[in-house]
């Protein structure tokens, strides 16, 4: 096909017409209710960020009550029960409802601008994630107003938490409310990974990516591997609480330490999931104020990747006091100390960049300097607690409380405030007040140190964490009083920041790129929702500094995709390594469907918390319906023409399937996370095998294994379902649609049978999951596989219906290819799991 002539970008009339079309396509919905159906990253990102900051303020208020209670020994401001809810919710909200969501929120807001993209590849998924976060967040955080908050610390160690007599509904609220949010967090991570890999502008090879994008990639991949173990743990936890399956009950073969392993395999990477995005903000801010490129780009990328990698090998340092062999102590001590090295590299990259540059001082730099001072102290105390003998004293004391706040406030909150002062003009067009910013900084910095430095002393001086009171006269009175005073000064500083933000709408607009930064996000114009006027050709890491006339060419639409002539929201999708444009992806506009899906899915978790089984099942059915409606009407739409001219003579297809398309990548990444969750359950199976001299236990009623017949039958059926799905994909591509549909029918039938056969194993041998942990873990694995079979069947029937409705054709077969990817993973997981429960370990005869 011949490319049509280039539009005449020299003609202001043409440009104005293009801008009008773009403006109309990207216009946010208006109206009190309809505005919330917006899905664009500039809207959702702002809501998300503000909600997360709201959670910070809420959890901070809880901490103030905690500090007020602890100001004096034997204080009776709140009861023990209230206090335990306060500190649990403080930690929980800060970790799950502030620290991780704020990373995703800021990334949703910034990433498309950093990549010169119009939006993220799945904007409706962002909206779904946001509404899930709001529902789950309000559910968990609000529980304290009903005296029903979780009350056993943010890591919820069983058996204190799994024994219903010891812990009330709070534990269920924690597990189910947060599981819902964790799913949303994984959804956001998937979107961010695909965004970084597939939505870069032409020319932005991986080694030209802004560092923030690198960090997003690292952190999102970490979320992908860190959250599923926790979700697997949540599943075991809730099964114990609701159905009395004894995963953590030592009297029936369970082990409380399995939870600690699963929690900290999540929990330690979590620290870096929180910390690395803040380093990423530094990496954007420091070059701007040093007026030069960042020194050692490959070093810092390798350091970020190395930190992410090492962070998965340290979790046991949270368990140094559980009675581990010396060899584990030595290994995990060494690994925990090693992670300080890439961290030091990152810090010195910034210092070296500042040293090599000519530094312009500004408020964001003030916060950055304060963050550095605090984080260095937190990092060094981190090295101390990595040393096992020292940790035996410091563990579970206020020393650790001090350490983690130095790390998280120095490593996440202050950099975030630096980012706030830095990026506020990009989002709103208005700078924040330097005077208020400085005042707030000094209040925060001084208040923080006054609050948290004495905790090092009170901790080693004998104060365990999570105590609602402490005795008078054993040396804890003064450090606690000082800490409490500091906490209120810190809070005052945060209040000043909030005042600054609140005054912003009344201030006048400033210039477009007030810090004279060199990266793509400063192309954004706060009054336009299209993201970029045209998708630029990037040749440098700092194109605004290095490419002459870059901003003008962008503004005049002289790069790619300057128009929206078909009235659709469009993105440029590029190749993973070298960012060659591959196709024009069309994304959805405002819609209520993601919100509907979030509400109904949230209902499932909330009703389950209260054991309202019938509403929970109804809500699940509605959620399935909402998701299917969303998918059916809004995804994989057959375009009106196969190709489109995007400018400069480049013709790109409007649709693709398989590895070229973002959807295929999203499926692969989703299933990687899913496989990680299954691997965590399998880890549990092996864990029980290692802690028990005899596993499975000697045969007894209710303890007979699942046998070999049914698992192997299921395996054959899964293989059939998988092969039939692949056959459907191939025959469909060969335009033999009838055969493809027949294969899909066969695949669905085989998958249904496979799911039933999986369950038939433990069911026919009478495995009783309440008797011992062995039947319980076998049942969980079987149910996990069967549930995946059920989802597979829904998918197979869905693509069959799409094919029948003409929405899936031999060319436009993205859905079918994605279902094939799903079946690869399910068949592999089923083979592994079924072989495991059928053959391992050999039962003593």
């Amino acid at each position: 096909m011949r490319a049509p002539a280039l539009p005449d970008q020299d003609d202001p009339g043409v440009r104005a017409a293009q801008e009008a079309r773009l403006r109309q396509v990207w216009a946010p919905p208006r109206g009190i209710f309809l505005r919330w159906t917006d899905v664009n990253n500039t809207a959702v990102g702002v809501w998300y960020t503000l909600t997360a900051v709201g959670m910070l303020v809420f959890a901070g208020c809880l901490a103030l009550v905690v500090r007020a209670q602890l100001a004096f020994p034997g204080n009776d401001l709140v009861s023990a029960s209230t206090f335990n809810q306060l500190f649990t919710l403080h930690g929980t909200v800060m970790m799950f409802l502030f620290a991780v969501p704020i990373f995703e929120a800021v990334s949703i807001l910034l990433l498309p601008q950093l990549l010169g993209a119009r939006d993220l590849p799945f904007p409706r998924l962002s909206a779904f994630g946001y509404w899930s976060f709001v529902i789950g967040g309000v559910f968990v955080a609000g529980s304290i107003f009903f005296d029903a908050a979780p009350d056993a610390g943010w890591f919820m160690y069983p058996p204190l938490t799994t024994e219903p007599a010891l812990t009330g509904i709070g534990a269920d609220i924690w597990m189910l409310g947060l599981s819902f949010i964790e799913v949303a967090a994984i959804a956001a991570a998937i979107e961010l990974i695909v965004g970084v890999l597939k939505c870069r502008p032409p020319g932005m090879r991986l080694n030209l990516m802004p560092l923030y994008a690198w960090y997003v990639l690292v952190v999102a991949v970490m979320i992908l591997f860190a959250f599923p173990p926790l979700i697997a743990g949540d599943v075991l936890f809730e099964l114990e609480r609701m159905l009395d399956w004894p995963f953590f009950d030592a009297s029936r073969g369970g082990d409380p330490l399995l939870w600690q392993h699963l929690f900290w395999i999540f929990g330690h990477p979590e620290v870096y999931i929180i910390f690395l995005p803040s380093v990423a903000l530094f990496a954007m801010i420091v070059p701007t104020f040093a007026r030069r490129h960042l020194i050692g780009y490959p070093w810092i990328v390798l350091a970020a990747v190395g930190t992410g990698f090492l962070s998965f090998g340290l979790w046991v340092h949270h368990m140094f006091t559980t009675g581990l062999p010396s060899i584990s102590l030595g290994f995990f001590s060494a690994a925990s100390e090693a992670v300080a090295i890439p961290t030091a590299v990152q810090i010195f990259v910034f210092i070296a960049t500042l040293w090599a540059g000519r530094v312009v001082w500004a408020t964001p730099m003030l916060y950055g300097a304060g963050a550095l001072a605090i984080f260095v102290v937190g990092g060094l105390t981190g090295v101390m607690v990595a040393v096992a003998p020292f940790d035996w004293q410091a563990h579970d004391t206020y020393f650790v409380v001090a350490h983690l706040h130095y790390v998280l406030i120095g490593g996440a909150v202050l950099p975030l405030f630096a980012g706030l002062y830095y990026y506020w003009p990009m989002v709103t067009g208005k700078k924040l007040s330097d005077r208020l910013g400085r005042a707030a900084f000094w209040l925060i910095f001084v208040g923080f140190n006054v609050a948290f430095f004495p905790m090092h002393i009170s901790g080693l001086g004998g104060m365990p964490r999570r105590v609602f009171t402490y005795p008078e006269g054993i040396g804890l009175d003064l450090p606690n009083l000082v800490s409490s005073i500091g906490a209120f000064v810190l809070a005052l500083g945060i209040a000043v920041v909030l005042v600054d933000l609140a005054m912003s709408p009344r201030r006048a607009r400033g210039s477009r790129n007030p810090w004279a930064a060199g990266t793509l996000e400063w192309l954004a114009r706060p009054d336009e929702h299209w993201g970029v006027r045209s998708v630029p050709l990037v040749e440098s890491r700092y194109p605004l500094w290095d490419q002459p006339g870059f901003v003008e060419r962008h503004d005049e639409g002289r790069f790619l995709l300057p128009d929206a002539e078909e009235g659709k929201r469009e993105l440029l999708i590029s190749s993973v390594l070298d960012a060659k444009p591959l196709l024009v992806g069309r994304i959805g506009g405002p819609t209520v469907k993601p919100m509907l899906a979030a509400v109904t899915l949230g209902g499932v978790f909330i009703f389950t918390t209260f054991h309202l089984w019938i509403p929970a099942v109804m809500s699940a059915a509605l959620a399935l319906a909402a998701i299917l409606w969303w998918l059916w009407t809004e995804t994989s739409i057959v375009p009106e023409k196969p190709m489109k001219h995007v400018g400069h003579g480049v013709m790109l297809p409007l649709h693709s399937s398989g590895p070229v398309s973002p959807g295929w990548w999203a499926m692969v990444i989703t299933m990687t996370a899913d496989a990680t969750a299954l691997a965590s359950l399998v880890f549990g199976y092996f864990f029980y095998w290692t802690v028990h001299p005899e596993f499975p236990p000697a045969a007894a009623p209710g303890l007979e294994g699942p046998g070999r017949f049914w698992p192997m039958t299921a395996l054959v059926l899964f293989a059939l379902g998988w092969a039939a799905t692949i056959a459907a994909r191939e025959t469909n591509a060969l335009e033999r649609v009838g055969s493809a549909r027949a294969c899909l029918v066969l695949a669905a039938a085989a998958t249904v049978a496979a799911g039933l056969a999986v369950l038939a194993g433990p069911s026919s041998s009478g495995l009783d999951p309440t008797v011992h942990v062995y039947p319980a873990i076998v049942w969980v694995l079987a149910i996990w596989i069967a549930a995946h079979a059920a989802i597979g069947v829904v998918m197979q029937v869905y693509v069959l219906a799409r094919s029948a409705a003409g929405r899936l054709t031999p060319v436009y077969d993205g859905d079918l290819r994605n279902v094939a990817v799903y079946m690869h993973f399910v068949a592999f997981g089923a083979a592994l799991t079924l072989a495991l429960i059928a053959f391992f370990p050999e039962r003593a005869r």
Binding site: A152, T321, A352, D391, G461, T469, Y470, G473, L478
Partner: protein, 397 residues
């Protein structure tokens, strides 16, 4: 805070008391002349309790100043309670406190203190160095150039930390090997239960001896703690003696310690274990070896004869259903062993100093003092009966 707030008045769900500690603690290394501070107040002092609304007869008869009103440090027998946290602000300046890793009385805690001082010094130097360098980098007008900058990253960010951390690891690895448990040495089995400590001495060749909420160890002899939990996870932490070790249901952990100085100290539960986690403390007394042997023999003997009335009531109210008083009631060992109850320094696992009043108050409503305590309340028990039972218990020493 004077002790007068211990009046049993209840204000809604709030915590109606102010625990006060320190009056019977002292530290070996800084002992002064006078009464031996290792032992708790004498028996008369114990029996004179803080009064509820209804005075207790023995107090009236003795008619002395209310012991429990004494201000912190005002008792010449216990001068060290005057110490506040202020010396702690010198970080490691040998702050003499009963529950502090800065004031070790055990070999392991002492070694960790030395390690901590080394790490704190290095950390302070590194912090100052990094911040000074950062300040220098920001202020300098002419830069160092990309090559110099890369050298900074390589040496200060890469090689420097690697060398320092390798040295730290090498220095700390030997400390990760636990002390070896001596053959035939004293074994003390400790069980953490919500919210108290079951302590069973298992000397070689003698039947085990059970007590609760107080651990005594001989100075200079290795002792093996065998740590288990029947309910939830707890953690045994005696900061002055050694690091903490968790007590995990279904698992058995061991901790070998050697006390190096005499004194009366304090330990706590360090792993959150429920509503009264903060009120799960215990006394630790390090005695000379001979004194320890004598004390253990004393602990092994059954209870002496005691007040008839309280003893009868103890039985009538069904207390032996959960408590053993060796020599008086065989009982069921669900709750703490009470055979030598009165010899302990504190009531309810370090919550209040030992007295009849505190004991009586705890009997009538344990959860008022300790939220979530497992012991059932006896709110309908007449105060006289509770006092009589408490008096019986306090006399058991």
């Amino acid at each position: 805070m004077p002790y007068s707030t211990v009046s049993g008045r209840r204000r809604g769900r709030k915590m109606p008391f102010r625990p006060r500690y320190g009056s019977c603690y002292s530290v070996g290394r800084a002992r002064t002349k006078g009464a031996d501070p290792i032992e708790p107040p004498d028996r008369e002092d114990r029996i004179r309790g803080k009064l509820g609304s209804k005075p207790f007869f023995r107090i009236r008869r003795l008619g002395k100043a209310n012991l429990l009103r004494r201000k912190k440090g005002s008792d010449p027998n216990f001068p060290l309670t005057r110490l506040s946290a202020t010396p702690c602000l010198a970080l490691v300046g040998g702050c003499a406190e009963v529950q502090s890793a800065f004031a070790p009385f055990g070999a392991e805690a002492d070694a960790v203190r030395v390690l901590a001082i080394a790490m704190f010094s290095a950390a302070a130097a590194i912090t100052v160095g990094v911040l000074a360098l950062a300040a220098h980098a920001v202020r300098r007008d002419e830069g160092i150039g990309p090559r110099g900058a890369m050298r900074v990253v390589l040496w200060l960010g890469g090689i420097g930390p690697t060398v320092l951390l390798a040295a730290l690891l090498a220095a700390s690895l030997p400390r990760m090997q636990p002390l070896a448990a001596p053959a035939g040495g004293l074994v003390i089995a400790v069980e953490g239960e919500q919210f108290w400590w079951r302590v069973v001495y298992r000397p070689d060749g003698v039947p085990p001896i059970e007590t609760a909420n107080e651990i005594r160890v001989p100075v200079g002899r290795a002792v093996t703690f065998v740590l288990e939990s029947p309910d939830v996870i707890h953690s045994l932490w005696i900061p002055g003696l050694a690091g903490k070790v968790d007590l995990i249901p279904g698992r058995t952990n061991e901790l070998v310690v050697v006390a190096t100085a005499r004194g009366r100290f304090r330990g706590v539960c360090a792993e959150f274990c429920g509503p009264s986690h903060a009120l799960m403390a215990f006394d630790v007394v390090a005695l000379d070896a001979e004194a320890f042997d004598a004390w253990l023999a004393e602990l092994a003997r059954p209870a002496a004869d005691a007040t008839a009335h309280g003893r009868t009531l103890f039985d009538e109210y069904g207390c032996p259903g959960c408590h053993v008083v060796r020599g008086h009631f065989a009982g069921t060992p669900i709750g703490p062993d009470l055979t030598h109850y009165g010899a302990r320094a504190n009531v309810a696992a370090g919550t209040l100093p030992m007295s009849v009043a505190a004991t009586s108050r705890f009997i009538r409503d344990p959860r008022e003092l300790k939220p979530g305590a497992r012991m059932p309340a006896f709110r309908d028990m007449p105060r006289d009966d509770a006092d009589a039972i408490a008096e019986y218990l306090v006399e058991l020493d």
